[in-house]
């Protein structure tokens, strides 16, 4: 029996995948590889690392596919897994390259100078070149300077188009906190863009 997987809904795809159909896994991948990668990439701001984390997010999702609760959207579920993975990684590594102006916890000017990204044109690797081109714009830089929680809510809301309720579920925080994070994040973005 052949199925046109492109017209199948997420929940059905998950059921087919749970039966062990490889083509269902492939379809889920083709639907979510860009959104999941984009979210993680904007969080960690490094293509190689983002791909590794995205791959792990998919493997974890596939591995737990028979525990999926169809009451919730599949997209919320996979984003929850991807977000947990990314936040865990950022907490563990405290990546200093997150900000163009230094690590978020760098309080002294010396610490900021030490941890800040040096944007150099000559001698940058092809990957760095691509990253600078992709994330070097004013708005991307401003997003990159937001603290992690603010960044996630902005990306989930305005790039992925999730509802406030879905964001609360993805991030495991109360609805009121989602709203507060969103307001502060947008206010910071507006300020940074006005300064620039």
């Amino acid at each position: 029996m052949s199925l046109n997987y492109q017209s199948v809904e997420d929940a059905q795809l998950v059921a087919l995948a749970a039966e062990g159909r490889e083509s269902a896994y492939r379809e889920l991948l083709s639907r979510y590889e860009r959104p999941v990668f984009s979210l993680i990439y904007r969080m960690v701001r490094n293509r190689t690392l983002a791909e590794d984390l995205a791959q792990e997010a998919f493997i974890r999702t596939f591995n737990a596919i028979d525990t999926y609760n169809p009451q919730y959207k599949f997209s919320s579920w996979i984003f929850k897994i991807a977000n947990n993975l990314t936040i865990d990684h950022l907490r563990k590594r405290r990546v200093p390259t997150v900000s163009m102006h230094g690590a978020p916890d760098a309080v002294t000017p010396e610490a900021q100078a030490r941890t800040s990204l040096v944007v150099q044109s000559p001698g940058e690797s092809p990957e760095e070149y691509v990253q600078n081109r992709e994330l070097g714009g004013q708005i991307e830089a401003a997003i990159g300077e937001l603290r992690e929680e603010y960044r996630v809510v902005v990306l989930l809301r305005h790039i992925e188009g999730h509802t406030y309720d879905e964001i609360a579920r993805i991030m495991d925080i109360p609805l009121g906190t989602v709203k507060t994070y969103l307001h502060r994040a947008r206010a910071e973005l507006k300020l940074r863009l006005a300064e620039a």
């Binding site: 490889e22 896994y25 492939r26 991948l29 083709s30 590889e33 860009r34 959104p35 990668f37 984009s38 990439y41 904007r42 293509r47 983002a50 791909e51 995205a54 791959q55 792990e56 998919f58 493997i59 974890r60 596939f62 591995n63 992709e134 708005i139 991307e140 902005v154 809301r157 305005h158 790039i159 188009g161 406030y164 109360p174 609805l175 009121g176 906190t177 709203k179 507060t180 969103l182 307001h183 947008r186 206010a187 973005l189 507006k190 863009l193």
Partner: protein
């Protein structure tokens, strides 16, 4: 009207009060909780809340009973129905009604938060109606709203990024590997556990069984070089030698044990253990634990090193 509602020391603005009344229908968040704390000590804000409650109540009653008469029509004409654009005249009547009911200046500006939620389509309908009424009369708020709309439009226009080519293939390959490992693992548990499961295990097991075989073969090869030896003679000779060695070892061991007094101590220890069942049980348990843990250590070291992809599952 930029009062920060997260600090409940300050007075509540229109937005906060309406939020409070809206929140009565849904779950309370930290914000409404802090507003409630402020209200306890502030009669001024409490009065404002009462006035707004009246407005809300009025609207609810009108919606349900809709008494005949021009007043109701006038009030209803001030409310934006979903999908309807607000016309300035309607908005004006609404602002006047609000002013009349609350005794507040009609030029109360919208809060930053209210504007953001309006731009994002997330403001509850009643608050959106009030906000639109104000916007129709206030160029200042209108331009601030346009600013938030521009920001949101900029964000929403951002591209999504594709991972490097072949990403899906790499994920599928990794996924196949993971499922095969898992299948292999469950099969291996059904197999005889003592069989080595890794090249290292096989080398270890091979060495352990190979050494005695090689030693025996070497001895046999040496003996075969002695011409007058027959198989029967060799076996008889070996048997005698073994018996002599065994009895010599046994008698010397016995002598050593008797001389050291160890036998006596072992006998008295056994006597003591038998006399007290509790110590006997404890000794047996200790012995068993020791045995089991040494078996486990052996099993772990001879078996498969570790499941390399474990981190994927946690």
């Amino acid at each position: 009207m930029n009062s920060d509602r997260s600090s409940y020391g300050r007075h509540l603005d229109d937005d906060a009060i309406q939020g409070l009344l809206d929140a009565a229908e849904g779950p309370a968040d930290a914000e409404t909780a802090s507003a409630h704390r402020h209200l306890v000590d502030c009669p001024e804000c409490q009065a404002q809340v009462d006035a707004w409650r009246e407005v809300f109540g009025e609207l609810g009653r009108l919606g349900r009973f809709a008494p005949p008469g021009r007043f109701a029509e006038r009030v209803l004409s001030g409310i934006d129905l979903p999908g309807e654009a607000s016309s300035p005249s309607r908005a004006w009547s609404w602002v006047r009604l609000r002013h009349w009911l609350t005794g507040r200046a009609a030029d109360a500006h919208l809060s930053r938060r209210g504007l953001q939620e309006l731009a994002d389509g997330a403001l509850p309908r009643r608050r959106a109606t009030l906000a639109k009424a104000h916007l129709a009369t206030c160029g200042d708020c209108e331009s601030r709203l346009a600013g938030w709309r521009r920001l949101i439009a900029t964000l929403e226009a951002l591209p999504s990024f594709a991972p490097a080519a072949g990403f899906a293939e790499r994920v599928m390959a990794c996924w196949r590997e993971v499922t095969e490992e898992a299948a292999g693992r469950s099969q291996a548990t059904r197999r005889w556990r003592l069989l080595p499961r890794s090249p290292r295990g096989w080398v270890l097991a091979g060495t352990l069984t190979g050494m005695p075989v090689a030693a025996f073969a070497a001895v046999a090869a040496f003996l075969s070089t002695v011409p007058q030896l027959t198989t029967g003679g060799l076996v008889t000779y070996l048997w005698w030698q073994a018996r002599d060695a065994l009895s010599a070892f046994g008698s010397s061991l016995l002598a050593a044990v008797m001389q050291s007094g160890a036998a006596f101590r072992a006998y008295s220890l056994a006597e003591y253990l038998i006399a007290s069942p509790a110590t006997a049980v404890a000794a047996a348990a200790g012995f068993t634990t020791l045995m089991l843990s040494s078996i486990w250590v052996l099993h772990r070291n001879i078996g498969f090193p570790r499941f390399a992809l474990r981190h994927v599952y946690n």
